[in-house]
Assembly symmetry: C2
């Protein structure tokens, strides 16, 4: 059984840790800057906890799964081999080149600690500094997920940006819709069939071919009318910018 | 069996017509400005076609389902009773007040002629100029769909705007993601599990509580880095504006 030290206790670390344990890996230790958070995750993973980066246990792999903004400073404090991070936006250059084996294990998913998900359907994007370590990471990936791909740092960066549009920005569109409806006492759930159909169409089609709505039809009177009917200035600006972008795409 | 004349032959008219026929209504005639388009839909609905607005057959209901920008001018050419339109963004005021019965029958969905959908899961929003006609429209609605609500013109306008954010703008986010990935030779399908999980979370949660990503975490270095890594100026602008909007929402 492979031993792993998990450095981080956030949304990604939680779901990845659970999937590793469910697939026969041993999480030997969980680190977090806040011992309390390390404790919470360690309990879920039947593991131990620490807040001391200079006092980690020996393990086969070290997985650093912390916020992007903290990743570099955390890795600089470590002097470990077989170390991987889980970030979409940071490349291999963050590692100390003296390490023999290092890599990236990027699960392409939106994680919330409180929300269950089927990790086996989550694509995992692998990169490593050598072929042997790459194959070890592919092996772990294949134990956790049905969809494992190798991808280089540049591609992963673009993939992460695309994921932000497809997930975070999409979710923010839902947020704005929610706020608009709440002001008119309409239940957001009324939109769910529409949202589901929007997603179903993606399975077989290029999204730009599936575009519908006033901007697609260049219905400028409708668009102006909608902008006038939005009470929030920032939301107006977003409506205008995205509508223009749709119209340009369909020229 | 109720007889209906369908004025329009686009995406909404097509799906609505099919659902009406499947639920025992007779489409007596299909009108389109282009006779060819009326013919295509009439064939699907076992109906007849015309391009003459002044020569429509007698029917129990007239459904006007044309582009928003054309709706007013089409309705002005008609002198009919029991007339309804299917637009989210236009109110009852578009009708001639001399008509005894008029109303709105707005199916809240994204329709593409070529793509099948389960119409019974499509919410239908009803408004009428009197209670009796409202109950007739509710009756038709309930024959076609599991979810029928009455909603006034102001609410429907806000609902339509919210639907544009939740569907059209969301789809455009997918389009932008597709373009970003295509430039790096990455298959858009890799994003589908992420997109599905984003939607699953909506079933039980307020979307703003489900927000994830760099803007939610206020990871400004990551955000700036992403903007620098986008090759298209307009896409950069959209990234910036939506990220700011997410950050403001989470202040």
């Amino acid at each position: 059984m492979k031993n792993i030290v998990l450095i981080g206790s956030g949304n990604v670390a939680t779901h990845l840790g659970l999937s590793l344990v469910n697939n026969g890996y041993n999480i030997k230790q969980v680190w977090s800057k806040q011992l309390k958070n390390a404790d919470i995750l360690a309990k879920k993973l039947d593991s131990t906890s620490t807040d001391a980066l200079n006092n980690l246990k020996n393990a086969d792999f070290y997985i650093v799964s912390v916020k992007d903004d903290a990743l570099e400073s955390v890795i600089k404090q470590l002097n470990l081999n077989n170390i991987i991070h889980t970030s979409g936006s940071i490349g291999l250059e963050v590692f100390n080149e003296k390490s023999e084996n290092y890599g990236v294990f990027y699960p392409l998913q939106t994680f919330n600690k409180e929300i269950n998900l089927n990790f086996s359907k989550t694509p995992i994007c692998i990169e490593a500094n050598n072929k042997l370590f790459e194959s070890e990471l592919l092996n772990i990936g294949n134990n956790l997920s049905d969809k494992v791909v190798t991808i280089n740092s540049n591609q992963r960066k673009q993939l992460h940006i695309a994921a932000i549009f497809a997930c975070n920005f999409t979710n923010h569109m839902f947020s704005l819709a929610y706020t608009i409806l709440a002001k008119s006492y309409i239940d957001f759930k009324l939109l769910l069939p529409l949202i589901n159909q929007t997603i179903i169409k993606l399975n077989k089609n290029n999204p730009s071919q599936m575009q519908t709505g006033p901007a697609k039809r260049k219905a400028k009177k409708v668009i102006q009318n909608h902008i006038n009917n939005l009470s929030d200035k920032k939301t107006q600006e977003i409506y205008k910018l995205i509508s223009n972008s749709i119209m340009e795409k369909n020229e």
